[in-house]
């Protein structure tokens, strides 16, 4: 019998495996959500060792309380709440230690958190797309490659790249609006 690698598991199954104390699943969960947790810390103006403390403390609490999570599909939102509380505690602690700290004055987390949530949703929707679509969207929107560069790299006529990107954007929207839908190949 073959076991699905942790990196290929959807969030729900990953949580189930983590509860069974599967160390590979736990490493995958930390890897999958680490950038999310760091992004939340940064939204509170926490960088360097402070952000690292938020990371460590958040995943320690997640590890200890994973059994309390009632809806596995809500794991991302739950980890986000934990990171949010840990970050807020850190900011308050620093405020007590250093009342004039500019950190407290400059932290505007709400808007940043909304952007992080949106970015995570898009990232997750992108991960559900077939590889050719992921690649063409990544090259155009993230790496700023031109149609000709993309066509040369993928061996496709340059005049077809724009329409290919449009089709892949449609699939991305489908994937984003309905995470349960398996995108067309």
């Amino acid at each position: 019998m073959t076991t699905t690698p942790a990196s290929a598991l959807p969030d729900v199954d990953l949580v189930v495996r983590c509860r069974e104390r599967d160390s590979a699943a736990w490493h995958e969960l930390v890897e999958r959500f680490s950038r999310y947790v760091y992004a939340i810390a940064r939204a509170y103006g926490l960088y360097g060792p402070d952000a690292e403390d938020v990371f460590q403390d958040t995943f320690r609490r997640v590890y200890e309380r994973l059994g309390d999570l009632r809806r596995e599909e809500a794991v991302r939102a739950w980890i986000g709440q934990v990171a949010h509380r840990v970050s807020l505690d850190s900011v308050r602690r620093r405020r007590r230690e250093s009342p004039s700290d500019e950190l407290v004055e400059t932290a505007q987390p709400d808007e940043a958190l909304t952007r992080i949530e949106l970015a995570m949703d898009v990232h997750a929707a992108l991960a559900r797309l077939p590889e050719p679509c992921r690649e063409v969207l990544d090259r155009f929107f993230t790496r700023d490659e031109s149609y000709h560069t993309i066509s040369e790299e993928l061996g496709l006529p340059p005049g077809t790249i724009a329409s290919r990107i449009s089709r892949c954007l449609d699939r991305l929207r489908e994937s984003w609006e309905d995470p349960g839908t398996r995108p067309r190949p």
Binding site: F141, Y147, S166
Partner: protein, 184 residues
């Protein structure tokens, strides 16, 4: 902007000596042309590629605006070098001119992309086809303008210089895209 007669105001808002150079103007033109493509695609909501074309046009507009900024910074550095040419502490002119070529070629590449996208939109639209065709030809013209600037900034220009050849290739590609545009 149009209703308020703002185009003249926008053009006249810069003081003497503050106007952008030809490279930045070309990039700004491309940003406007990409906006025309965006508008043309948006006017055809029944076309299945409309949303995707709008998103791509938006990205090309943003890319053009960033390149306008980058190019203007390099242009300013080249102007400073030119103004101080011969003075002992002045920055060297040749490297400053050479540095300006990278952003210029990137603008030319964006011009090809705008022309290609405009051609696709022109082929799929009816109500705004003329706008998309005009955008296609404007983008091709912008790429020709970039070639002129690249060649003039190559202090030691030789026929086999890869950057001159690159600019010529971009002109050919943009012309091909314009030629693929349907007739109005």
């Amino acid at each position: 902007v149009l209703q308020a007669g703002g185009i003249r105001q926008a053009l006249e808002s810069t003081g003497p000596g503050e106007q952008p150079g030809a490279g930045a103007v070309t990039a700004l033109l491309l940003a406007q042309v990409a906006a025309v493509v965006e508008m043309a695609a948006m006017a055809e909501p029944d076309w299945s590629g409309s949303t995707g074309a709008v998103a791509q046009a938006w990205l090309l507009r943003e890319r053009s605006l960033e390149l306008a900024e980058r190019n203007q910074a390099r242009y300013a550095a080249a102007l400073a070098a030119l103004a101080g040419a011969g003075a002992p502490e002045a920055p060297a002119l040749e490297p400053a001119l050479a540095d300006s070529i990278g952003p210029l070629l990137a603008i030319g590449e964006t011009g090809v992309d705008v022309a290609l996208l405009a051609a696709e939109v022109a082929a799929a639209t009816s109500r705004t086809r003329a706008d998309a065709i005009a955008a296609c030809h404007l983008a091709a013209g912008a790429t020709r303008a970039i070639r002129v600037l690249v060649e003039s900034n190559l202090v030691v220009a030789t026929p086999e210089d890869a950057r001159a050849e690159r600019a010529a290739t971009l002109v050919r590609r943009a012309a091909d895209a314009a030629a693929s545009c349907p007739e109005p």
